[in-house]
């Protein structure tokens, strides 16, 4: 049974938020390239940055499995710093060489970094200049994934926001699902929407440049990811209108997300129940053993991917876990309104980070499970805490009904493992 908050309980809507300003222990927006380059299969991401940026991408990608990945770094060196005109020439030279080498590239993103921003290398202008040279074969766009501007998943936001002004225009009504999803999840959602009679449904980003959706004043969009503030703004500038909803994580989140679309399209509740019923039952059944294992366990979220709020809502309401602290890089109150309302009242929320102080709080709370980044996980394990490294939550298909139990398993496995090792 899923405990449903009473109607009078507004959850964390007006809850105070601990605002932290200190050392952050999070990736920068460049990291988004690691999944975006797999999703957008004729796009290439060229970071204009330093050796650090190249090293970050390589380390975050974890493994070097691609002979030639669809991303690279143009490493700025001393000579580029000597004169900006030269840096632009150099960039043109690098891009020309790259495009000669890789005829499969149809969309090239020039991705800004901290160094390129600090030296004020204008990548937008560079993209225009190069775009004129290489159109129609290649479209060239730019965005910033720099660590001084973006945190981890904000890189995807910046990338999609750069894409939106180039989407074809349409006057036709349609639904747009926004945020990179695993292909299998996209297919499931497509089936559900078609069952509800909602259509046409398109997804942003698309696998191929040619399949990018059209957008216009009749477009309504649903955010599938909670970190897409700039993309949403760009879509609204094109006239699209957001369907406010919680995020499709867990059974409850997925149903509420679909219900928001159903309501907007005038699909009645009975139809919704009928279409989603089998998947809901299946997912609840699959969740039950995880819930048995996790109910009552205390969980602490370090800020990382911006998925923390919906995840906290899911583990609290569907798995019965107790929230000690839910940290997030930043709180977008408007996009998070539905999530906040569902969160148990009194949850400690924190925004931003002072990692040392947050570690102190975490140790004092002594939670059963800590969700944190790769730099913190093993050290906390060594201190006796059980951790779930958060990047796995970004790199795994977790959205929708069929993935709800997989998502729960990601939380259950570390605890189960610790039990196994302790029992031996």
């Amino acid at each position: 049974m899923i405990p449903i908050a009473s109607a009078t309980d507004s959850g964390c809507t007006d809850a105070p938020v601990l605002r932290e300003r200190g050392q952050r222990e999070v990736f920068c927006g460049l990291t988004g390239i690691v999944w975006l380059h797999r999703k957008m299969q004729d796009a290439f991401f060229l970071v204009v940055g330093s050796r650090t940026c190249a090293h970050l991408l390589q380390s975050a990608a974890g493994v070097m499995i691609f002979a030639e990945p669809r991303f690279a770094t143009a490493i700025i060196d001393d000579r580029d710093l000597a004169g900006l005109a030269d840096a632009n020439d150099e960039l043109d030279r690098v891009v020309t060489r790259l495009l000669e080498r890789r005829p499969d590239i149809k969309l090239l993103f020039l991705v800004g970094s901290c160094p390129s921003e600090v030296i004020k290398l204008d990548l937008q202008r560079a993209a225009q200049r190069l775009g004129q040279r290489f159109l129609p074969r290649v479209r060239v766009l730019s965005y910033s994934g720099s660590g001084i501007e973006t945190t981890f998943t904000q890189g995807e936001d910046a990338c999609l926001a750069a894409l939106v002004p180039t989407l074809p225009a349409t006057a036709q009504p349609g639904l747009l699902v926004v945020g990179a999803l695993a292909d299998v999840v996209e297919a499931q959602f497509k089936r559900l929407f078609s069952g509800l009679g909602i259509g046409p449904v398109q997804f942003l980003p698309a696998r191929q440049l040619a399949d990018l959706p059209a957008v216009g004043p009749q477009t309504r969009y649903l955010l599938a990811q909670p970190f897409l503030a700039d993309t949403a703004r760009a879509l609204e500038e094109r006239g699209a209108c957001r369907i406010a909803a919680p995020f499709p994580l867990g059974v409850e989140g997925t149903t509420a997300w679909l219900r928001a679309a159903a309501t907007a399209y005038g699909v009645n509740e009975a139809r919704l129940q009928q279409v989603t019923g089998p998947a809901v039952d299946r997912a609840r059944q699959a969740l039950a053993p995880h819930r048995a294992r996790l109910a009552g366990k205390r969980i602490f979220f370090f800020p990382d991917s911006q998925l923390e709020l919906p995840l906290a809502r899911f583990v609290a309401r569907e798995l019965g876990m107790q929230l000690t602290e839910v940290g997030m890089p930043f709180l977008h109150r408007q996009h998070m309104a539905e999530e906040l309302a569902l969160l148990p009242a009194g949850t400690r929320l924190s925004e931003g980070q002072d990692v040392e102080r947050q570690l102190d709080r975490c140790r004092a709370d002594a939670p059963d499970l800590v969700v944190c980044g790769l730099g913190l996980a093993n050290p906390l394990e060594a201190e006796g805490l059980t951790t779930k490294w958060s990047i796995e939550l970004v790199f795994s298909p977790i959205h929708g009904y069929e993935q709800a139990a997989d998502l729960a398993a990601l939380f259950a496995r570390p605890l189960h493992r610790r039990q196994l090792l302790a029992a031996a």
């Binding site: 200190g22 050392q23 952050r24 222990e25 999070v26 990736f27 920068c28 927006g29 460049l30 990291t31 299969q41 330093s50 050796r51 650090t52 940026c53 190249a54 090293h55 970050l56 380390s59 975050a60 070097m64 499995i65 002979a67 030639e68 990945p69 669809r70 690279a72 770094t73 143009a74 490493i75 700025i76 060196d77 001393d78 580029d80 710093l81 840096a87 030279r93 690098v94 060489r97 790259l98 080498r101 005829p103 499969d104 901290c114 160094p115 921003e117 600090v118 720099s146 660590g147 001084i148 501007e149 945190t151 040392e356 790769l374 730099g375 913190l376 093993n378 050290p379 394990e381 060594a382």
Partner: protein, 514 residues
């Protein structure tokens, strides 16, 4: 601007982190944006250290740039000192902070902290990780090593160079320490690994220095020689012969005799290599790439201790390119000095060696090309931190080299049987060497790659294969099939043969047989 897909070395501040993280009682305050904190995971995930690197990042943001990044830096310095109470504080800038020119050294000095503050100037747009490690260690030694009292007795030696995230540094230190102990030579200080600032202060008390990793420690050792008159070792004890030479070198420096137990036979590897089963290793063509120290040592071991033929030798460390050039000349091959892994891949593809000894990058290259490979050098992967003791140096290290280099190859008799019965249903390409088992088929067989990621410039085939010849080609053992195909096609093209028949295949085989 250089187009880079994968890099062999990180930025120089990562080198500084490797030194700081290896040590005790040191903290590194790094002026850097938030994303640079990824570097922590190198230590916590790849090396699996159970503690965070002792690094505080200021994590300034765009909105701070117009305001007061210097103030932010000083606040972070005060907080980090108060929280961690280090015995020495390293301060520096990552690539981005270098551009905003806040002068971390000056800012930290101005705080008047009651411990030594060591500023690091690591030019991020010119230099790389190993330079950063070397420079950091050198600056620490300069700042902290105390001049020994006049006439004070000098005892034992220091072991210099091992860092965090080093390729088998932990195990090498244990091995060499044991070796020195057997010689009756005391180890005064090991640094930077596990050393505290107080330990660095005592460096001058040793009679001489053992430089295990010149990439990190040669600069500091040179300074110690000039300042305190401490000589340092030149032999890198990788391989049984080099270990023997190393033993002689340190024994001479310490003025002690070499006990008979420390002759070359202290290692099993030379005997294994001499045993008849190893005959099949003769002339195996090996391609070697890595940091200069490990690459040069590997080439020597391969040629002199295993009887391999070195067909390629290279390094990504330009600082030590001279050593590699000399070694390449000695082995009669052209040196490959590059940090572009595509160049390395092209070289391996052209040479079609029997074995690749390289870094994690070459492991991937070799996997793609279906060539056996062993890792001999950083950059490292989580697999390069095995749970067991697995040194590269010393007599046990020589044993490890024998095992890990020979293991990916077919065993002698097996290779013959494969040659004799190549049509046998069990000897198909998915059946790797029997001792590798089924699970490790991927060691010898290229993994399927996502299509769009394959290199575009694969050579196009000029001659076509007759079906019968194609079938015959498939009877050739898979680990030489690539070479056979290439050679035959080259042979056909050179002779203007349009259709490759079974005859062409064997003519080419005869032509290219060595």
């Amino acid at each position: 601007m250089q187009l880079t897909l994968w890099t062999y070395e990180g930025p120089p501040h990562v080198g500084a982190m490797r030194v700081a993280t290896a040590m005790r009682g040191v903290h590194y305050l790094l002026h850097a944006p938030q994303g640079d904190t990824y570097a922590d995971l190198l230590f916590t995930m790849i090396e699996r250290l159970p503690r965070r690197p002792p690094v505080t990042y200021t994590t300034f943001q765009a909105r701070d740039l117009g305001a007061d990044t210097a103030g932010l830096f000083q606040q972070a310095a005060r907080d980090a000192y108060a929280r961690f109470q280090p015995q020495a504080l390293l301060v520096g800038a990552s690539c981005t902070a270098e551009l905003i020119q806040d002068d971390p050294g000056g800012l930290a000095q101005a705080l008047d902290l009651p411990v030594p503050v060591i500023p690091l100037e690591l030019p991020a747009y010119q230099r790389k990780e190993n330079y950063g490690a070397s420079e950091t260690f050198y600056q620490l030694v300069r700042a902290l090593a105390r001049r020994p009292a006049e006439g004070a007795p000098r005892r034992g030696c220091n072991l210099l160079g091992p860092t965090a995230l080093g390729f088998r540094h932990r195990d090498d230190v244990q091995e060499i320490t044991g070796l020195l102990l057997q010689l009756g030579i005391a180890v005064n200080v090991v640094a930077p690994l596990e050393a505290s600032p107080a330990d660095l202060a005592r460096l001058g008390e040793a009679a001489f220095n053992v430089v295990l990793y010149p990439e990190v420690a040669q600069q500091a050792a040179g300074w110690l020689q000039r300042q305190f008159g401490q000589p340092f070792t030149r032999t890198i004890p990788i391989g049984a012969k080099a270990t023997q030479a190393f033993v002689a070198e340190v024994a001479a420096l310490a003025g002690v005799p070499v006990p008979p137990a420390l002759q070359a036979r202290a290692s099993r590897a030379p005997w294994y290599s001499q045993s008849v089963d190893a005959t099949y290793l003769t002339g195996k063509r090996v391609f070697i790439f890595g940091d200069a120290t490990h690459a040069v040592a590997a080439a020597r071991v391969a040629a002199e201790e295993l009887g391999f033929a070195v067909v390629g030798l290279g390094t990504y460390s330009r600082e030590f390119a001279r050593d590699v050039r000399e070694a390449a000349a000695h082995h009669g091959v052209a040196p490959l000095i590059t940090d572009d892994y595509l160049e390395v891949e092209a070289a391996v593809a052209a040479l079609q060696p029997d074995l690749v000894l390289g870094t994690q990058m070459e492991r991937h290259i070799a996997k793609r090309l279906g060539i056996p490979c062993a890792v001999i050098s950083a950059p490292v992967h989580v697999q390069d931190f095995p749970a067991r003791h697995s040194p590269q140096m010393g007599y046990e290290g020589a044993n490890v080299l024998f095992d890990t280099w020979v293991h990916p190859l077919m065993m002698g008799l097996e290779e013959h049987l494969l040659g004799m019965f190549r049509g046998d249903f069990e000897f198909h390409e998915d059946a790797p060497a029997s001792h590798l088992g089924h699970a490790s088929a991927s060691m010898a067989v290229p993994e399927p790659e996502p299509q769009p990621d394959l290199p575009e410039d694969l050579p196009t085939m000029a001659a076509t294969w007759a079906p019968e010849a194609e079938r015959e080609l498939h009877r050739v053992p898979f680990f030489v099939r690539g070479k056979a195909r290439r050679n035959t096609e080259r042979f056909a093209v050179e002779r203007g043969v349009m259709t490759i028949t079974v005859e062409t295949l064997y003519e080419a085989k005869a032509h290219f047989s060595r």
